[in-house]
């Protein structure tokens, strides 16, 4: 398990900055554990025969909520615990199967402070297998503007994701 210890503040971050890459060897256990953790009982995420003969895929494959959880982990490994996700959009272009080594790589697209003083970074994340893009993700994550700032304290109109 990775322990998140970084404490990023907005001033540390600039457009074009890369995020530390994450490579992970995916097994059938990865797929099934992720699906069941998400309470996703659909058979294409645990039943090889169903995935191949009904869905027409080559194996069971990673489900959407678990991919979201992987993206969140990737982003907060970078930001530290004060990083607060505001928005995440992702598009699946291909599936992730047992035996794949998935690689998550990210780049800061932009940095801004909104009208209520909240610091934001927009990050582009790519999930690839053998260089092939499987999912791309655009995330907007709030970062503290100073060591004393904490985006998690924002509520109501002060939080504009």
């Amino acid at each position: 398990m990775t322990v998140t210890t970084t404490k990023l503040v907005l001033g540390d971050v600039h457009a074009g900055d890369p995020l530390p890459e994450l490579a992970y060897p995916v097994t059938a256990t990865t797929i099934v554990l992720g699906a069941l953790a998400a309470r996703d009982w659909r058979p294409m995420h645990h039943d090889y025969d169903f995935a191949v003969n009904r869905n027409g895929t080559k194996d069971i494959f990673m489900n959407t909520p678990n991919q979201a959880a992987w993206f969140e982990r990737f982003l907060t490994d970078w930001s530290g615990p004060k990083g607060r996700l505001g928005r995440m959009k992702f598009r699946m272009k291909g599936s992730v199967f047992p035996g794949d080594t998935m690689v998550l790589a990210g780049t800061v697209e932009s940095v801004e402070t909104d009208e209520v003083g909240c610091g934001w970074a927009t990050v582009l994340v790519r999930l690839t297998v053998n260089g092939d893009l499987k999912t791309d993700c655009t995330a907007r994550i709030a970062l503290p503007t100073t060591d004393a700032d904490n985006p998690w304290t924002r509520r109501g109109d002060q939080w504009r994701p």
Binding site: T4, A37, D40, P65, D77, K82
Partner: protein, 170 residues
């Protein structure tokens, strides 16, 4: 001019399937989810860190859909319940036996905390004309799910794009 059946057209932008989660947000699933992706964020493992940063434990924001996924079986139920019922309704209406999700957008508002009882409601936003992809021929649709907590605070909005299809027609 739309080629949609009038029954489907009438559903667009209508709130459907307002329902409460079957159980309160709980830490067991939080730990299992963090374990599944090896997420060591101390907000989910260290109560002192959670107290200091988030005023107590929270769930990972991306778990938002977990809390409304129904049990696969429960007493009195004769068929497995399905999440995102609008998606399955559309598969049935258009007689499309297979489906995949292609796009997913989640916007996060109030943090979700252990003990919260979430409510959801589903809203069909659009259905495309027939399309052919490498998977087969079918239709794309966009469904939004709004999530609220027991205080009627918005905790998130999730938007799914699904593609329902029939194989072998590509």
């Amino acid at each position: 001019m739309s080629d949609l059946p009038s029954g489907v057209e009438k559903l667009i932008d209508q709130v459907q399937y307002e329902e409460a989660g079957e159980f309160p947000v709980e830490r067991g699933y939080i730990y299992t989810t963090c374990s599944s992706v090896e997420n060591g964020n101390p907000l989910f493992w260290d109560d002192a860190a959670a107290d200091a940063i988030t005023a107590g434990p929270i769930a990972p924001p991306t778990m938002i859909s977990v809390w409304f996924r129904p049990h696969n079986w429960s007493p009195g139920r004769t068929e497995p319940a399905v999440p995102l019922q609008v998606h399955f309704d559309l598969k049935e209406i258009f007689e499309l036996p297979e489906a995949v999700m292609t796009d997913n957008t989640i916007v996060f508002y109030e943090p979700v905390r252990p003990g919260d009882r979430l409510r959801t409601r589903q809203i069909l936003r659009s259905v495309s004309a027939p399309k052919t992809t490498k998977l087969g021929t079918g239709r794309f649709w966009v469904i939004e799910v709004e999530y609220l907590n027991q205080n009627d605070e918005l905790v998130g909005i999730e938007s799914y794009t699904g593609f329902g299809y029939r194989r072998g027609e590509a």
